[in-house]
Subunit: 269 residues, 2 copies
Amino acid sequence: MNIDHYRVAPNSKIDLSAWDPNDKRLFDGSKKAGEAALPALNKRLEALQELLYAEGKHKVLIVLQGMDTSGKDGTIRHVFEGVNPQGVRVASFKAPTPLELAHDYLWRIHQETPARGQIVIFNRSHYEDVLVVRVHNLVPPEVWRRRYDQINAFEQQLTEEGVTILKFFLHISKDEQKQRLQERLDKPEKRWKFSTGDLAERKLWDEYMAAYTAVLERTSTAHAPWYIVPANRKWYRNLVISHVIIKTLEGLNMRYPEPEAGLDQIVIE
Amino acid sequence: MNIDHYRVAPNSKIDLSAWDPNDKRLFDGSKKAGEAALPALNKRLEALQELLYAEGKHKVLIVLQGMDTSGKDGTIRHVFEGVNPQGVRVASFKAPTPLELAHDYLWRIHQETPARGQIVIFNRSHYEDVLVVRVHNLVPPEVWRRRYDQINAFEQQLTEEGVTILKFFLHISKDEQKQRLQERLDKPEKRWKFSTGDLAERKLWDEYMAAYTAVLERTSTAHAPWYIVPANRKWYRNLVISHVIIKTLEGLNMRYPEPEAGLDQIVIE
């Protein structure tokens, strides 16, 4: 799979309506075949994560963003199936607390960044500070406008200090969201997930798409790229994200640490 | 499986030499059958953890303690295979940093305790402050002696605030440790894990057993019990710990949250 296909080149102009959320061109096969391809990728990711943890050198940060029902939770569950929880952590960023609001918006984010040998998955992130914050006018325009450059500088500092950053926008269509919300209403075991607040956000779909477009145009950099993942098909979304992560980890040329010197002489009593 | 079998009753006298690390009396079958029984338990735990997360009410703290090579890492990998990393976190406590040492010994521990809906696994814990600290005389005896009561009070407060605590001592024999250390020396892919420091600790085996005995006698309470898990057989260790966690979670009588009122009238546009 050519993982660069969905990667946003720095300083691109993005027209999200030209990115098909149903696209599946990189996988030559059915949904069933696509689902059957995932377990082998899970195993590969599990092995790479173990190596990352053992080497204790690189730090990996994975950012998941997308509209409600776009599949952030499902991605975490399926792409990371089987990884060792000892080396993988999820940080979920909800509406900030009063303490968090009393600091700058990157304060709570920085605390959750990965240590050496760790993978951290951000379920939502600092990008909410130029998404929900922008759409709902939670700060004046001059405040959120300067954040794109601030975020780029923050992420550049992280990467210079050894963090590998991958950012995924889970791209679903407005109609797909309607079906997924309807499913939450219709299935008794999913009903508790339904929030009427989600409908108010859905009314702002176009404003969110404009805000996402600005994010993708202004914060996809060589060191911290965005991927626009076609996410109407869950199985395809899982394959794309798995491939991007695996190829990136493979590119780190990791090795198991050298054993201590002099072990050949040792007798255990 | 009768999960109370390995549970330490409060204020028991413990003679660890009478607890067989090879015991497997609660499973009627071979190693192969025991290994084959685990995936169904993984699935059950995965479902219970999802329910715990959805309900967002209970907090679960699992403490793993044991000598080097006793299988703490392996327990995390195999018992929690397949759980959603979004609701499960591992906190590993290594030698304290200068900042941690500048605080009381429970300071770093409290920070890592679970929030509502979370399972947190402690890979080592505050018990090191009455184990390695006692064996190596890192603080005066009057300091570590008062810690048993302090720990009981701390854990009582946590449980009164909604934390369910389970503590597992992974009990291996000294000979089993020898074989596992030898295996690290002999297998090239495991050699990097071998530390000559482990041999110095091994020389203090009896002192550690005395320190563990005091822990088991003085800190197994009704609200935060210790389980002495026969751990020479990895497959049996995994089954015992899985059963204890599953039975405990089942006992919480968890339910999915109620949906919002008035959802029947909703039309998604």
